[in-house]
Amino acid sequence: MNKPIRRVSIFCLVLILALMVRVNWVQGVQASAWASNPHNERTKYDRYAYPRGNIIVGGQPVTKSDFVNGLRYKYKRSWVDGPMYAPVTGYSSQVFDASQLEKLEDDVLSGTDSRLFFRNTLDMLTGKTRQGGDVVTTIDPKVQKAGFEGLGNRKGAAVAIDPRTGAILALVSTPSYDPGTFAGGSDADSAAWTALKSDPNQPMLNRALRQTYPPGSTFKLVTAATAFETGKFKDPNDETQTPETYILPGTSTPLVNDSPDEPCTDATLAAAMALSCNTVFGKIGAELGGDAVRAQAEKFGFNNDKVDVPIRAAASYYPSGSSPDGTAMDAIGQHDTRATPLEMAMVAAAIANNGSLMQPYLVAQEGAPGHAISTHSEHQMSQAVSPATAQKLQQLMEGVVKNGTGQRANIPGVTVGGKTGTAQHGQDNAGKPFAWFVSYAKDSSGKQVAVAVVVEDGAAQSSEISGGSLAAPIAKSMMQAALGK
């Protein structure tokens, strides 16, 4: 019976071979798919198995990894000035996942990025403790602090950009939260998480990037840009033919200015910008038409849902197909127009940078200084307006600060241009208006900064709220911090 025994022997070999092929399939071919399966909790534990890389601001880490030696997690994330930097870093929690840079740069921070393989292997061979890679941001701590302290207890956001490069110097959102309160997995962490999630003030909302507001009068910059670019006006001192009372087209409703005694009738563009005449820009917008203004707005970054810094910003919105009266309102930043603080900072930055809009970015470099695995290369996002138009717009904005609504942003010895905005919102404009200030500053050495500030609930009385009084001082201190004045 040896022949059948030999066959049985082959059969048994086939069984063992089948097992071998199977484990080669699972552990070889499919290995990475199983390892990164969303239900595989190892990724969660791996993130805290050894010190996580740090997020660097101004050469200093604003994050730490604390050795807690827990049952499942060896390390826990903590933050320096957590609330101030939360809109930049996001959170990284043992049980509540991660957000923003902590999430987007997780591969680098937790050291699993393939580009860190060589370094990790070297560390393993030399017996160094394993450590994630660092992420270097463009944030300037002084500007960030000025914005954060300027907003204080008020609800709002502030963004500062270097117009020449697109580097984001400040990204502030208030009220903020301390990501350290729920970085662990204890009951206290859960309670903190639940409280933050149910807070009506939405402290975990990154208002600078993820919240859109009606931009109000700050949008008049875009309308003016359209007017110059389309050739409707040639010069800031061209007179506009504006009636004393402008009736919204197709309706009997008059468009009113902030105060009835402002000299907006037939005002020049420069004067109308300095005084923020609704009638002038409403009429220009209606005459240019929604399509022309939208085309210009899109060059500044509106209607783009892929503005990644790398945190994805919410898409700012300029509508299409508005009725003629709606178009007039769209053109002064009301009605359906919506913008993020980042978007309005980009408008100011493009104007300051002679019409060239640089791609905004937050991450200068991945990997520790001297061990970079990638560095950001600056590039233009679009040529928003021609250099000539940009200079005319600069003239308009500088007028606003010199002798208009934005005088509180004036910094002696520095060229400052700005635009205020007081945006109505809510049913029948019942909500407290949003106070905006969009500006740029250039000093003689060529340093530049563009800023957008929005304050949601600046004062108890609606009548006391204006961009010039509430938002301009914050913008000013941020610009001063950026230029070192």
Partner: protein, 501 residues
């Protein structure tokens, strides 16, 4: 011993030739020193593994590493000495291979013990397992010592049948626990439990071997040819149908897919070897597929297992199917996370498998911490055990020994395939333990007995003829039939029917 060379219908000339081929006693290498050397390797690997776990998890060598190493060495050494004394010509690889697997299992159990609270219901298992391993090796030595010749087992053919049936039927009368997922494969007395299926595996093989040795000619020759297949006569078919029904009954009453598959597969293999008729395989496959299909449609338990095999990640979804378990999905993620070389002992997170992480699913831990490389090595070791067993079957000189060796080896192979295939998602999961590696006293004790019997057969097979000249040459072949069940009378020529006639 050659005086009792039950070589069926072979010609005396052939027998003489075979006898002449056998070298004299003093020239046959008994390979005991090879075994000792291999045993040293088989001990070194788990001891280093033990040290590795301690270094990885505590940063220091385990305090009792010396005691552990010595304990293992004493056990393996005792087994080796028993082999030297009672089975000097036994296969030299089986003992080291079994020792290696047993040692690795202990290392992994200790590592999982150290996972502490991370593993639910994590009661320390290593000490118990070490005790059971000791008991297993004691049984191994007992078999070496007391079983003078494996053919003695032939006497117990029908007693074996009764014992095996009782063992198989018993768990059906004991309540199954919640965490057994419906499988009734244990006999429990308080906290003490045994898995009779593990012992039944060996005892049934003894019965099959004895039964088939008698019946093989009737089964092989008295058959009608139909469509190219030899069909057995109705009365010969009887026992086969009985075994088939029995395995279906196990499946229905104990919801134990694995044992059922194992016994039916074992029977078909042995039937094929005994009769050399391929038609039995076709027959067996038809019957097992028929039975499986029948039960699968009726038994919810089996359906659940099959669904879990088809979609292992369903249990993780927002609406997991009823009675579904994360085990297979967790094991696959364990294996995938281990990758090619694994995380290293003590550095994986295979405790995520949770339920049965130390028993049925222990392979997941090996896969994660030793990687693909480790699993391939483990399968290779299992493959070697099986192949040494089948080699023994080839070398055995008596049909009973051949059948017994084939049966035990293929049962071992089938069990490895059923368990490992189940946990790696190759086939639907069935509740069985990985021989030697997994936690479980019955399993480790029974498998040591299995190795002992295989080694005993190989000892008889390789042992040189005492004195070829002394062999009386019987002129007529031995008659078939019950007479052959007489005492084998090792080395006592007068007792052999063939010799005395």
């Amino acid at each position: 011993m050659s005086t009792f060379d039950v070589s069926g219908g072979r010609t005396p000339a052939a027998r003489r030739r075979r006898a002449a081929d056998r070298p004299a006693a003093d020239t046959v290498p008994n390979r005991r020193n090879t075994e000792l050397l291999m045993l040293a390797f088989a001990l070194a690997v788990p001891i280093l593994g033990y040290a590795n776990v301690g270094l990885a998890m505590d940063g220091t060598l385990p305090a009792n590493i010396l005691a552990y190493g010595l304990g293992l060495a004493v056990l393996a050494g005792a087994a080796h000495l028993a082999v030297r004394r009672f089975a000097p010509y036994a296969d030299p690889l089986l003992l080291p291979l079994a020792t290696l697997l047993n040692g690795l299992g202990l290392v992994m159990l200790w590592r999982l013990d150290k996972a502490g609270k991370l593993l639910r219901n994590n009661f320390p298992a290593t000490t118990n397992q070490l005790m059971w391993s000791g008991l297993g090796i004691a049984l191994f030595i007992g078999v070496m010592w007391l079983l003078k010749d494996h053919r003695i087992l032939q006497r117990y053919t029908y007693i074996s049948m009764v014992v095996a049936l009782v063992l198989l039927a018993a768990p059906a009368f004991f309540p199954s626990r919640e965490e057994d997922f419906g499988a009734k494969i244990w006999i429990r007395f308080g906290s003490f439990s045994i898995q009779p299926g593990e012992f039944a595996k060996i005892i049934l093989t003894i019965f099959f071997s004895g039964f088939l040795m008698v019946k093989k000619d009737a089964l092989a020759l008295a058959s009608r040819k139909f469509m190219g297949l030899y069909l057995p006569r109705g009365r010969d078919l009887g026992p086969i149908v009985v075994v088939w029904l029995l395995s279906i009954l196990i499946l229905v009453f104990e919801t134990d897919l694995g044992t059922s598959f194992l016994f039916f597969g074992l029977f078909v293999v042995m039937l094929y070897v005994a009769t050399e008729r391929t038609s039995w395989i076709v027959f067996g496959l038809l019957m097992s597929f028929g039975g499986a299909a029948l039960v699968a449609t009726k038994e919810h338990h089996v359906k659940t297992r099959i669904n879990a095999w088809l979609d292992p990640m369903a249990a993780f979804g927002p609406h997991p199917p009823k009675q579904s378990s994360e085990q297979i999905g967790q094991t696959l993620m364990s294996l995938g996370s281990g990758g090619t070389v694994g995380t290293g002992l003590g550095q994986g997170r295979s405790w995520l498998i949770q339920f049965a992480a130390k028993s049925d699913f222990i392979l997941g831990s090996f896969g994660e911490e030793l990687g693909l490389a480790g699993l391939m090595a483990i399968f290779l070791v299992y493959g070697l055990v099986v192949q040494r067993g089948l080699r023994t079957a080839l070398a055995a000189r008596d049909p009973f020994g051949k059948l017994l060796a084939v049966g035990l080896s293929s049962a071992f192979a089938l069990q490895v395939f059923v368990v490992a295939g189940g946990v790696t998602g190759l086939i639907p999961l069935t509740g069985m333990t990985m021989p030697f590696l997994a936690q479980g006293g019955s399993s480790v004790v029974a498998n040591w007995a299995l190795i002992a019997v295989l080694m005993k057969i190989s000892d008889t097979a390789r042992r040189p003829a005492a004195e070829p000249a002394a062999e009386p040459a019987p002129a007529i072949p031995e008659p078939a039939g019950p007479d052959r069940f007489g005492p084998p009378g090792h080395g006592a020529p007068g007792q052999s029917r063939g010799a005395s006639s």
